[in-house]
Symmetry: D3
Subunit: 128 residues, 6 copies
């Protein structure tokens, strides 16, 4: 039986990441089901369920962290979609990515921007 | 004569980073004055002066980027002070740093948290 | 009241990290007590309490990860002590650090080696 | 004529990395043959041929280092295969990757896990 | 109307990066046109237009930085082409990449080498 | 008896890094003497002894790599001194560091610049 943390986490994951997050969880079942549980319980049941910052603020932080980390294009795809899911606008997401240029340079920012571009084109039919 | 970008950047830098930022700019004058100008003109005159995100949101993004980047404790010190300068609360700064755990792990988050702890103790006389 | 995960994690943390880990947990109480709980519950109660690798193997993995991450000297200090606590020999720890040279280069390996050197001198009275 | 270090290294490389390593060496011949020699002589003839840790332990360290480094999916592919070649079990490799979550976060761990998943599916016909 | 920095930057970008750089700038127009302007104005109008190092030296520095950063294969593709555009020889580019092995390890150097290999094959019809 | 690679490497290390490099090698003797040998034999006897780039070019590459890597201030100290030893001017070193801003952002560049500043003050009695 799943813990209360798991149930709270899954609810939060569905609210934030939607089908993109669900797909990650599902793709881990045959290889590392406990890792999937940790994503749900710890990342979403514990961290994402905290008060103190709202979901829009948390997605700004997530996008900045993933952009700066580098090599996280699959996770950026999930979390740029998540940012839109919780109500951030296209241009706010681009602003958050661009704001990282002075801290992490153009290459990581360009990589994140092109992930956003692809998502905006799919979701909106256009990119503005 | 300094450009309009420089003047706008210096005004923004003083508003955001205050004396901590001024100290960085000043310490560069004998070694790399043009680098100081780029910080002022590009990071503050261009990027920080943009619309689309307010200064609180920009500081959340900055703190997430610096925490994730690692090895940026001097810059975190300037920008955690900056976060307080633009109106973020102690607990919101800690939330932003903690929100990076799932993305970048505990070590970078602990390093950033201890920078914040030192600043809060100096500025507030306490840490809550 | 602390959860079962917390109690299991604290027991494991004391076994592995000893007083070094306790000091980190304690230093977080005034600034980010929930972060301390996550270290105990998630890193130690969940991950370190898993089967499949024994504690010596886990410390080899931890040391390789922290060496490669860079900028984690405080955490290396805790975990090189932990490696000794769980029964790894000085020379095995050095081997694990040196094995990272082909993957992450000399600088990060030198930084980790000098952390180990300091610890071995304190604990053993010598470094061989 | 190849040096003793080269011969020892090539033997070790074949034992550890097998055809995956051979393919990397071979693909470097037209562009950077000396780089191929350094991989063989230094990484395998020197480092991998050392005593102090056995090959299973060295592969745990390698996988932790590559997972944490990020952006090393091609090298992870070679070295997860190598881990299986030297006798580590699927579940031990997954444990080593998962053990890095507290140190480097979920994204790098997920990226490494999906490399492992692909390899396990090809080699084993299944992933457990 | 574009600023003098923009015009100087675009001239420098065309001289250095050629069509590869132009393509990046162009692909940003629908998603983040100001980011494109910053690349042109700041990276090329300011930094690349400086004296003190010639363009060959600047490309050696760029290639070392991108190789070490990791996860910057698209940017390496632009800048290895740029290195050839400003007169560096194939073997000098490979030397610069290989020189990074002691500092950043084999994986990032191999990733950069394979980007170079692809470019040399396309541009030269061969790789030596 | 030391190999030819070791002797060539030590000669090159003394020429490039001088007493700063010697101090690193010496400090490793009690803790990891083989690691010291690898620095001498591989980094200096193999890589630094190659043709194709001269020592000034190699130091530009080294400085760019260490600046971008981050958390390598001790190694930057050795290699900025080395850059001066092989004939680079103060301002060329600063240019190389500044050239990394677009690729790795201001924080790593500022950290490297302050290492250079300290060295220039000690060696030159001034910083210009």
């Amino acid at each position: 039986m799943k813990s209360e943390r798991y149930l709270r986490g899954m609810e939060r994951l569905m609210e934030v990441d939607g089908t993109g997050g669900e797909r990650v969880i599902s793709s881990l079942q045959t290889i590392a089901p406990d890792l999937a549980d940790y994503v749900v319980e710890f990342a979403f049941g514990d961290v994402y369920s905290r008060e103190g910052l709202d979901l829009k603020q948390r997605q700004l932080v997530t996008i900045a962290s993933l952009t700066t980390q580098g090599g996280c294009e699959p996770q950026l795809e999930v979390h740029i979609n998540a940012a839109l899911n919780v109500g951030l606008q296209n241009h706010e997401i681009i602003e958050a990515i661009m704001h990282c240029v002075p801290y992490t340079g153009f290459p990581r920012v360009l990589n994140a921007t092109f992930v956003a571009k692809k998502i905006f084109e799919v979701r909106n039919g256009d990119v503005k």
